[in-house]
């Protein structure tokens, strides 16, 4: 019984009420009952659309097919939860989907206010059902073995209830108001009594954020960033990210914009099998004199290039990063000259024969940078490694390819030579350099030979690496394998024929393919299972269940796409999650 009662708050939140036409006339929008100083608020205006999306036949089938779900479904707690749902269905005389739709169909509003105060307002469509459900939970709470403190008190014309002496809730018409403390409920009731009182909608920051959101959003989230930035942990985390050179390179402009913003608005749209999140902040666009200006397209029409498409692609990144400006600003970005940085510069000096890294090497690259990660296809004649790493390639666009090609080739061969020399010192086999062609493009590959090896089905991890350098047209490809380099030469050839347009204003984009991710996880299942066994202390069966769950989740995600751009002075990020519901 106590476990059932533990479910009460959660179910109460989900289950209770919203509006029918009458109620809509009699009650103001729920957001007007949220205090003005709310730090974060969520408005789920179309809960039925989200419910339909998540509980449709395909989604239900996909979720119930997950090993994690199946494991949970067989647990006693889950069975008890099912029994409770059945009981509620019988009592309300309908199935849970219908009940949930009727109980939340008018919208759900949630807010986090200062001093850890939480407020949840749910607008039902069916007032009788709401009352009936509340009665069920009241009876359960009263008859609970652990004797929860069920109590009620009157606030004017409203009866406020509590199940545990802390949370406080009330039903007003078709609306359920729930607060984490009596003070929270009091604040809501005061706003109800005084319709002209200062609520969240009168907050100018909220108004600006709301104006940035499309009206047809299924749900929106507002966050007051100025208040959030006062939380030491958040400010510290952002500062730490900024001081890491790699993070600074990847997230340049984003961290600075967030720190400079007053508000954040996140909206959710639903399209067929896709969840589309759009995020906006109002921070100033990075100025051209800022150290992080290297990441922001400043001229009209500038932006990233579309991601490259290759077979077995797992992920692709397209970034707008002017490496020359980035490295020129390194003294501002990272004032401390670490030993790692000094070593890096020394090595670059060797590889590029004394050329200045900033003004003679990085200046030769254009800001359009792409990265591709793809599953490898192994030639049985060469051999298959036991652990199968994905191939990774970096694609740079060159300003003067005719002049720079030999410089790059020389540097690359020096790197291979250094690797071979170092490995030779340790009596380890080195890389063999070859110069094959893909179409009209000649490229360089270095590989470990498997000649003479008896078992080529279980090779060391080093056989995942066949470092390659290719320079088709104005591009430079630095790939961990020749297979991916070949695919990229073909992809760039096709792209050049079609003259791709930059995505104006967009400075970062990441795309992920769930099916291909699942495929490489599956290919390394044995290794992952064994890693889980010693890493977590699991049995083989438990480890297999854990890894299979990740594989299933990857399969459930058809694809994901994240892009960040600057438009009309606002920084926007879009996350598109396409689910595999087949």
């Amino acid at each position: 019984m106590s476990q059932k009662l533990g479910l009460i708050p959660a179910l109460t939140l989900l289950v209770f009420v919203a509006q029918n036409a009458m109620a809509a006339q009699s009650l103001p929008p729920a957001i007007e009952w949220i205090p003005q100083d709310a730090v974060i608020s969520l408005e789920l205006t179309q809960p039925k659309a989200l419910l339909e999306f998540l509980s449709c036949e395909k989604a239900t089938a996909a979720i119930t097919a997950l090993p994690l779900y199946q494991k949970q479904a067989s647990s006693p707690q889950f069975k008890e939860f099912f029994n409770l749902i059945n009981f509620i269905e019988i009592t309300l005389g309908t199935d849970w989907r219908t009940a949930l739709a009727k109980l939340t169909g008018g919208g759900i509003t949630f807010a986090i206010c200062p001093e850890d105060m939480l407020i949840l307002i749910i607008d039902a469509e069916d007032q009788d059902m709401l009352q009936k459900l509340h009665e069920i939970f009241l009876n359960m709470a009263r008859s609970g073995a652990d004797q929860q403190q069920v109590a009620s008190t009157e606030f004017g014309d409203v009866t406020a209830w509590t199940f545990n002496g802390k949370e406080s809730h009330a039903i007003i018409g078709k609306r359920l108001v729930f607060a984490s403390s009596p003070e929270g409920l009091k604040a809501v009731l005061e706003l109800r009594a005084n319709s002209k009182g200062a609520n969240l909608t009168s907050n100018s920051t909220y108004q600006k954020a709301k104006a940035a959101v499309k009206p047809d959003a299924v749900a929106t989230i507002f966050a007051d960033l100025k208040l959030l930035m006062q939380i030491p942990n958040i400010a510290q985390a952002l500062e730490q990210q900024r001081q890491n050179p790699m993070t600074a390179l990847l997230l340049a402009g984003v961290i600075e914009t967030i720190r400079d913003s007053n508000w954040l608005a996140l909206e959710l749209h639903l399209k067929e099998n896709t969840l589309d999140f759009q995020l906006s902040v109002d921070g100033k666009t990075v100025s051209t004199t800022s150290p992080v200006a290297f990441a922001i397209p400043n001229k009209p029409g500038e932006g990233i290039l579309p991601n490259l498409s290759v077979p077995r692609r797992i992920a692709a990144f397209s970034l707008y990063r002017d490496l020359h400006s980035f490295y020129a600003a390194k003294d501002d970005l990272f004032p401390e000259r670490t030993s790692g940085l000094i070593f890096f510069e020394n090595m670059m000096g060797i590889f590029f024969s004394g050329r200045d890294l900033t003004n003679e090497v990085l200046i030769e690259t254009k800001p359009e940078i792409r990265l591709v990660v793809a599953e490898q296809e192994y030639d049985p004649a060469i051999g298959t490694p036991q652990v199968k790493y994905p191939a990774v390639a970096l694609i740079l666009r060159l300003r003067h390819p005719d002049q720079f090609n030999e410089v790059a080739e020389e540097a690359w061969q020096k790197v291979v030579g250094l690797i071979n020399f170092t490995r030779g010192q340790q009596a380890m086999p080195g890389l063999i350099i070859d110069r094959p062609s893909q179409g009209k493009t000649k490229y360089t590959v270095a590989y470990f030979s498997t000649t003479g090896m008896e078992d080529k089905t279980n090779l060391d991890s080093r056989f995942n690496i066949r470092p390659s350098l290719a320079m088709p047209g104005e591009y430079l490809i630095l790939s961990s394998t020749d297979g991916l380099a070949q695919d990229l030469i073909d992809a760039l050839h096709q792209e050049t024929e079609q003259t791709p347009k930059p995505l104006a204003g967009t400075h970062s984009m990441v795309e992920l393919e769930g099916g291909q991710l699942a495929s490489i996880l599956q290919a390394n299942r044995k290794t992952l299972v064994q890693g889980n066994m010693v890493g977590k202390g699991s049995t083989q069966e438990q480890a297999e269940a854990n890894i299979d769950m990740f594989i299933s989740l990857a399969k459930f995600l058809d694809s994901a796409k994240l892009d960040i751009s600057v438009h009309e002075g606002l920084t926007r990020a879009g996350l598109e999650l396409k689910l595999n519901l087949q």
Binding site: V387, A427, M428, D460, K526, T527, V534, G535
Partner: protein, 474 residues
């Protein structure tokens, strides 16, 4: 915390029993005879715990109870020659560890093997030989070679010392570790020959520098090239050598034969095993060691030697009881094993390295010194912290180890009863009466009646028990 390792055991009954047999301990005939419990020297939970600490990595409650029921010799039969399919278990774990290419992976898999093996004595002896025939993966730089080396030790850990020594003399990992991967006629490499005589067999004082130089000549021609052992005949010195009084055109195999023929080898090894299995606080006299050394020198059968020691009156006497300091591995697995769970051995391997026992990385060619060297103010704090990490029920080990669940499984319904159970489980209740009373009195022990916080209070009590000086002794 003061660890008193020179004191006889604390328990009153034990004191009486041990004092009555003290005078017999110097008599080899009696000392090495098989222990048969009697009214004066009964078979107790404390003795069962002692046996499982030495011949395994601790025991579960069921194992302790079964041992009490079986008696010492039958329990030893199971520990020395388990009925389980050891070969199948080891094949499975060889396969698991073959999937890892890193030292961290090898450590994690070995620790897991130690926890789950049906033949813990074999793993314990493998660990013993790893310290005796020490190699360090940092220098070897190859997980594959290190794996082969440890498989060699495991295959002979309770088998033939002769075969193990022969295997070690041509083990690539060992030769690389000793800097003996190239042994040319023109410049014989003395590293292996010296370590062979000083650490592996004869011991200091039982050979001369000339013996090392001559033995090095006998090993010439052996190389490790591209991770494989190779013999190049033209690099072998085929001239006459004189080693330990014998003269001839010796090869490496001959050197192995000659050192094994020396009485000092058997005696050195018996003394070393004595320190590991019987007592590390007092050196045994020659009279006590002599019969075992003579017997061992005949066939170098390790199992026979270990069996003799473990079955003996001496092993079950005060002279052996809690006369060793647990190594970090023994300390940690002594917590894990009784609590009947498997933890993250990846994490455990890192924590053990912090306590001074980084598997596959012994500090010197002499392995881990052990004994009092395990204990200092820093490592005692480290042991305290590791015990806390293991038992606190949160990261990094999670809630894998739950003393309250184990106590309930074995019939405890309140945290009060669980405390008594945990004292028996971890130290077999064998504490000085005042220590025991202090632990169990209301202010020190949990008194709730199995409520929600029982798990927490029992965890805290378990932590107190495993940080007692007595628990740090094997």
């Amino acid at each position: 915390m003061v660890v008193q390792i020179d004191k006889p055991p604390a328990h009153e009954k034990s004191k009486q029993v041990h004092s009555s047999v003290t005078e017999k301990l110097t008599d080899p005939g009696w000392a090495w005879s098989a222990y048969q419990p009697d009214a004066q020297r009964p078979w107790t939970l404390a003795q069962a715990g002692h046996l499982y600490r030495r011949a395994a990595f601790g025991a579960t409650w069921d194992q302790l109870q079964q041992a009490l029921s079986d008696g010492p010799q039958r329990t030893l039969d199971k520990l020395l020659r388990p009925q389980a399919d050891i070969a199948a278990f080891n094949r499975a774990y060889d396969e698991y560890s073959s999937g890892t290419g890193s030292a961290d992976g090898l450590r994690a898999w070995w620790l897991r093997r130690m926890i789950l093996t049906p033949h813990p004595l074999l793993e314990k002896m493998t660990l013993f030989w790893h310290s005796h025939f020490a190699t360090n993966i940092t220098k070897v730089k190859s997980a594959r070679m290190t794996r082969q080396y440890i498989q060699l030790l495991r295959s002979q850990a309770l088998n033939s010392f002769r075969a193990m020594l022969k295997g070690i003399s041509c083990d690539p990992a060992m030769l690389i570790w000793l800097g003996a991967e190239a042994n040319r006629k023109a410049r014989p490499n003395e590293n292996f020959a010296r370590t062979l005589m000083e650490s592996f067999t004869l011991g200091p004082g039982n050979y001369k520098e000339k013996d090392v130089q001559e033995a090095a000549r006998a090993f010439t021609g052996w190389f490790v090239l591209r991770s494989k052992l190779r013999y190049i005949p033209r690099e072998h010195d085929g001239n006459i050598k004189q080693i330990l009084g014998q003269k001839g055109n010796f090869t490496g195999d001959d050197v192995i034969r000659i050192v094994l023929e020396q009485h000092a080898t058997a005696e050195t090894l018996v003394r070393k095993l004595y320190r590991r299995l019987i007592c590390e606080t007092q050196e045994p006299n020659a009279k006590l060691i002599s019969p075992l050394a003579k017997s061992f020198a005949k066939d170098y059968d390790i199992l026979k030697l270990a069996e003799k020691m473990l079955r003996s009156n001496l092993f079950f006497s005060a002279a052996a009881y809690r006369r060793r300091i647990k190594s970090p591995v023994e300390f940690a697995l002594g917590i894990v094993k009784p609590l009947e769970a498997v933890i993250s051995t990846t994490q455990l391997a890192q924590d053990l390295a912090d306590l001074g026992q980084n598997l596959y990385e012994p500090p010197t060619v002499k392995g881990w010194t052990g004994g009092r060297h395990w204990i200092n103010s820093s490592t005692m704090v480290g042991r305290h912290n590791l015990a806390l990490a293991l038992l606190q029920g949160s990261a990094p080990y999670g809630d894998k180890l739950n003393p309250w669940t184990v106590a309930k499984k074995h019939g405890c319904s309140t945290s009060e009863s669980a405390t008594g159970f945990l004292l028996d489980l971890f130290v077999q209740g064998d504490l000085e009466p005042d220590v025991r009373d202090n632990l169990l009195k209301p202010a020190g022990a949990p008194v709730d009646a199995g409520g929600d916080d029982s798990a927490g209070t029992v965890r805290r009590f378990a932590h107190v028990v495993v940080t007692l000086p007595e628990f740090n002794l094997a």
